[in-house]
Symmetry: D2
Subunit: 508 residues, 4 copies
């Protein structure tokens, strides 16, 4: 009846789950609310890279045409780009570069995407675009050093298979952009890593032509990338949408798809980055704020590293603004963190994962058991959910026999953290408050307290080196248990019953 | 059956409970662990003053004799005193000065108190002592300004009625010391506040002679002070003691005693400072680490302001060392905070009090209800305990009808924080770990999580402007509930059942 | 020959000079670079208020129309406004509110100003505008308290006399806007302070009609405001302009103008705020980066308080963007601080002013002498310049006889800080580096060092209580001298000649 | 006439100069003033390790005997040791362990050293001592990991050749202590590094017996260590001494001595640590506060790495207390930093060294020239001094031809920082203030400004890839010049003469 967790590791835990996280448009990284979010998540989760849109858009001002003595000239400005990258690196996180969108001065058309109007048209001069790419990368190499910049993946554009992101979703034009860009990247240094085609879900028909094009023309490709979401059509209301979800397994299948589609091509075996993923692809779907989202993604985080080099949660923070400024505190934003740095349930899932040890002892549909080098064991458990509108049953039970020490008996100390519909759930408290759009300072403080996972501690008997855990999970719960064999240091004279009020023993 | 909390305030909440806190010997305030404790407590509790021993002891080096050209001279050094006071003020907390103990160079004998050997003998020259007092206060006035220093109470010595603190507990000698010192203080500025006799419990026979002496000789007295503890005789074990306690009411009686004893004297009506209080007067009694200590003190904190100007918990931090360096993390120290800044249950009691509003709506033997200017209501509730070894019954129930809004109906949001034998209780977790003397970093992190009060949130129906609270308290629980009437901002299109997984409504 | 500084104060120093500072559009205050600039300047200068454009523009999203069930509705969102004001107050600085520009959803036209496209047209519904004003102020009062918000001046629009800021510079339309807005403000609370007409320089003909309109219709006015600049026509080059300046006295005359123009009207005697001032009104004129700018403004800062309640340097930081993103580090921006927080010479002028004492002993065309309560004396001195292209002579000499103590002789310690074409001048170092647009980290560190004022220290003989200062100022220098009478504590045994290497005495 | 600095490196710069720094007794590391000093120096200088006395003394309480059931027992307490090491590592600095002095409970006598009374007698039980060593190291290995602790040198005792540090300076007893200790260290882990004999200057006769003893008995030795000072006999005054110094070359000879004395023994070739060095060995010699001290040590810092693995300046901070609490701000303390974190001239020497590049281009008696990987060149220059009482001549001139770029011409930007009798010299300003023992806050701020090195910047012509530097040094100056070839980015339209006030060109 209990899952018997093996004594010996079955695998090392891949860190693909925290290799990258997404952000909104790059100039939002200049915001204090954003950089504090990054510092917090770097400390508590340990993301290694961060990726966002708009590095070459006008708000970053990297490319700017002007006239001098009757002649068109271009100025490359790095005031913002340097500040953004300095802040990333100061937080201990590297940039995952996405080259796009088109500077207005270089654009061939005026189609834009998002509230902030990123231009999505091809360059009117590919030579000038190539020069922009080279100048930008040369600057970054000068500033941060070649060794450093070689560790940053460089993606060409974003979801060119969608006409909202690339004019007419013109595949031939994208392949041309890819080629020009990849060659420009390699002009700067052959060791820089370039990749594409950054597909949205549902565009697997692009893999073959992409592989064929780059192979036949010997265009550099160091990695491939795509995005993954599982939400259905949007059902709009003001300032928001509702959507159904496909099961979490669908996300893992999307992760696995590039390798499958590239089998047999020259691109087989290249690293795959899922440079965006989430449940819903909408920044205004309340599911992002829920414990359900965390329970849904738990099996994805624990298994995703089997398939890909990285999968980047889209996004770190509600400081985002693709549809405009957030209409209020909770608004279904992508962020792991709200404005004002409240941790959402999915943030906790990531923070729980960050407590895992390097040695995987067991992984199942509702649990991941790991061990640290010093012998501590962590159990991550969750209630499996399938994305359907139907409510999951209340609660779920996970029963495990966990090895915590060599054969002996004794006791083990267990610390449990819980996130569910009540615990670690500021959204749920916020609904109780009447969904204030602009909470008062007192409400904000209450929400911060409500956002903390519940903590329980207990000791368990160890028998033959094992503890039997019988975890009762509340609805949509994600739980983390840390287990450590007790090395008892209680002095012989200790007698808690002699403390006032503890005549029957203190431990109850 | 429910206590009917009145609609209108019955009193303003005195801030006597946080007017002052104690610390160990003053040079320990140079420690980083101590100053971070003070910053934390200042932010979360808001203590206004801090008082400690040893301001004139050799480790502060304020007074130092030397020879020059065959002649004895004295150097007054303020390197440490300035640093201590600068750090206090930087943390937003003022010093409550205690003049003592005796510099070795000025002492008439070599009797000392504590591991750190504070000299407890009278000065061999009262003139030199008076000059020390004047020089020190003049320096403080020069450095911090007269207006500031006038707000600092200045106590003469510590517990002179005990021969461990004052040679032979010689009353006549103390009265002389008091007189010389008080006059020296007033030499510097008539507006400085001086007081005594800083009695330990059980010395009420000193009040009459003190009053008579200062009255008959017209010696300045701006306030009187004493200490209060309720523990019985110490039953020693290595590195610790056990003791019985008298009921909490006994503490309040000790608070009230000076006024009673001074009735009819010229000192009647002077401000009274309880410049130290706690359950046990021993820095190695485990009761200080328990939830029991918090439950025991709750009625004292809520009622003490009726009797006195201030009552200072002895002490802020386990960085203390009267008996030597702490033998391990939890060791029965006085501190609200451990080494490494773990919050003990009594710390939480103080932090809960700091959430109270200025308007007292009700006060009872197990509750204090207050209101903020913006209408929020706080309920502090606790399980009454009496100090006897017998264990309190498990749990306690507090039932209140609380006014949260004008007459109307609707809902109120409640946030509850709990501290008891499990929640907000690092000591209890530490016992489960096997009482590690030097916890590992992972254990320390677990203890920090275990030290956080449990948080619950809920909405309650409001009927005729009132919420009925039925609080079930666990053993030795101190609980804080914050109540706020809901102003519902939910948009009409909101339908949580359309979120995946919430088909039956999210709120459960 | 020396100016004889009086022994007794001739005035108290007004703090009008630091009562307010300007910023760019309000959402830039969300930037970390901006909020760190504000924290720095608050600490080192002590600005009391900050004012910027765009509080109601779309990037702040305070007003947003949407449709629900076929009907137009408006949502007021305070996510950004709250964050901005929270950050201001956390830095110890209050907002000076400017109501504008027009939300797109409420605008009657599509004319905009600036790169960031602030809409400058009248509301298409004055009722909806009034509701926006009321809702915003009600929210602020709820969040920050009435007592607090009553201290924030509330300006109606910005420079309506210019057609770039107000469609057609339509005076009648502005008067209508003013009236509707002022009444809406007072609907919220009669104690809120409202004012206008926020004129640009050269629009004095607006005063009479403004006074007449509000008087005749009994429209509330608590203060009046205008702007002041002294630059001539712009001579453009790419990414910049050159301009001539009128003399600094011209700024003071602009400060004085409103009172002069309102003499005899019902508005006579109202507080006057110069809610923007600077030399050039262009954010791309290199003069802002120079020591010349500081020397030019020194007489304005020291005398401006004679005329007005406040005069706000436009602006705190180069994080600004009216013409777009800065093209490089130094670019003639308004900021006292550059991107990356380099202090410009004019920043130092402000920081020097912040060292002044409350008692003015002397003020002249090249100096301001003040005294602190503790007796320290500060001398601010500068080379007078007149704004003309002709270079000022190299150097300037200020000779003062300064009272530093009662009659006696002795010595005084003097600390001098200097800012000129070399010292405290990162711009000058940056030119020497070849004007790097995006300085490397090593260059940035060098610029930071170069931006620090030179420091000199010396002792001066005191004769009859006075020190004679003979200050040689380098070109465009602003200098601060702090003087303090020496209280010698050198012990009698001190003999520096016994230190190795100092046989001839150490002090040389 | 000019020194011709070679184009190509002659060596890599050893980091021996910053591998270690000394501190006072270990429990002072608990002080906030100390840990902030370490954080500052770690950031600005980059010390790799820190070593201090008293790790096993009673104030650390690692060893404590008690009785239980009539039997003597020992408790090992790591509360303080853990906090000290945690703070070191958090500051990025590792401990260099010194095992000593003797816990009172384990001591065979009551002789002590220092004001704080470190017991200097042998253990009364070598078995108990060995157990103390093992328990302590096992705890450190458990807490910090074996890999980490293996990088910490472990010294046995301190200066056993002096009877103030080791009872009777008994060599045989020390050899016994060394043996027992070294074996106890290796009991824990063979990879831990142990060494001795930590000799004071003038004890070279100990090398042979030490080598013979450990060789003949096969006692583990991983490194050897000694101390180095160059001061003569102390000439006392109250609270201080004066002393003569031998020339700096004498320090280098002391560094070289162990290797010379161990030549031909089995210990030849072992790493040598100079675990303490300074000019004077007294913590109350004013020379430590002077620019002279910095000039004197400059040739030692630049050359010391030729001889040894590390040489540790004794000490980081004036928070020290071997003779008691500091009698005032400047008191001749060892610290690079004063109480309150003023940087002394020798601190600047270290900070200047920290700016050097890895490639040494030239080293002479008054200069060290290095190059960074990015091509920047640093020149450290100083006035040579010899330690004699005679004053050095005023000023010194260093003339160098420095390669800054490939052959071409152009310009180079130079930033110079200067420390001498006026610049970067808070001590000199403090004397001018009348040597205040407890400076006011305003004085402290002035001293902080006076402590900053003067900064100059200039551009130099580059000819054939070289700049000619002609450095005029003031008395006792240590100067740092950073040179970088200018890559001119000035736009063609730039014309500074069009800025008001700069008609003759701005650069003057």
């Amino acid at each position: 009846m209990h899952v018997q967790v093996p004594n010996e590791p079955i695998a090392r835990l891949s860190s693909a789950w925290r290799r990258c996280v997404g952000t909104g448009r790059m100039d939002l990284s200049l915001r204090r609310g954003h950089s504090e979010a990054l510092e917090l998540a770097s400390r508590e989760i340990g993301f290694e890279m961060i990726r966002g849109h708009g590095m070459l858009s006008d708000a970053m001002a990297v490319h700017r045409a002007y006239e001098w003595q009757g002649e068109r000239r271009v100025q490359h400005t790095f005031v913002h780009l340097d500040e953004v990258v300095d802040r990333y690196l100061a937080a201990g996180v590297r940039p995952f570069l996405e080259l796009g969108f088109m500077p207005a001065d270089l654009a061939s058309g005026d189609q834009t995407v998002f509230w902030w109007k990123g231009n999505i048209t091809p360059p009117r001069s590919y030579a000038e675009w190539a020069e922009l790419v080279r100048a930008t990368l040369r600057h970054l190499v000068d500033r941060y050093g070649l060794e450093e910049v070689r560790t940053w993946p460089i993606e060409v554009w974003n979801e060119p298979n969608l006409d909202i992101f690339w004019k007419d979703a013109d595949q031939a034009e994208y392949l041309r952009l890819y080629e020009v860009t990849a060659r420009a990247v390699k002009d700067v240094d052959a060791g820089l890593q370039v990749g594409g085609p950054v597909l949205s879900p549902g565009a697997d028909e692009w893999w073959a032509p992409f592989a064929e094009y780059v192979t036949s023309r010997d265009v550099p490709v160091d990695f491939v990338s795509r995005h993954a979401y599982t939400s259905g059509p949007a059902q709009p209301v003001p300032f928001g949408v509702y959507q159904d979800l496909r099961p979490p397994q669908d996300l893992l299948e999307q992760f696995a798809a590039p390798a499958r589609h590239l089998e047999g091509t020259a691109l087989a075996g290249l690293p795959v980055h899922i440079s965006e993923f989430n449940t819903s692809y909408r920044p205004d779907n309340p599911v992002h704020d829920t414990a359900y989202n965390a329970a849904y993604l738990a099996p994805v985080l624990t298994a995703g590293g089997e398939h890909v080099e990285s999968f980047a949660y889209w996004t770190l923070s509600d400081v985002f603004e693709e549809l405009g400024v957030a209409p209020g505190l909770f608004h279904g934003g992508f962020g792991l963190l709200t404005h004002g740095l409240l941790r959402k349930p999915t943030y906790h899932l990531y923070a729980f994962m960050a407590q895992a040890g390097p040695h995987v002892l067991a992984r199942g549909e509702d649990h991941l058991v790991t061990r640290h080098d010093d012998g501590r064991v962590t159990v991550l458990a969750w209630q499996p959910v399938d994305g359907s509108p139907t409510t999951a049953s209340d609660g779920h039970r996970v029963q495990l026999s966990v090895p915590v020490a060599a054969d002996g008996d004794g006791r083990a100390f267990a610390l449990r953290r819980r996130v569910n519909e009540h615990d670690g759930n500021a959204w749920s408290a916020w609904r109780g408050m009447g969904r204030p759009g602009a909470p008062s300072h007192a409400q904000r403080d209450a929400l911060e307290l409500a956002s903390r996972p519940a903590v329980e501690h207990a000791t368990h008997a160890v028998s033959a080196g094992r503890v039997v855990l019988d975890l009762h999970l509340a609805r949509h719960e994600v739980t983390l248990v840390e287990l450590d064999a007790v090395r008892d240091q209680t002095p012989p004279w200790t007698d808690d019953t002699r403390i006032p009020g503890y005549a029957d023993g203190a431990a109850r």
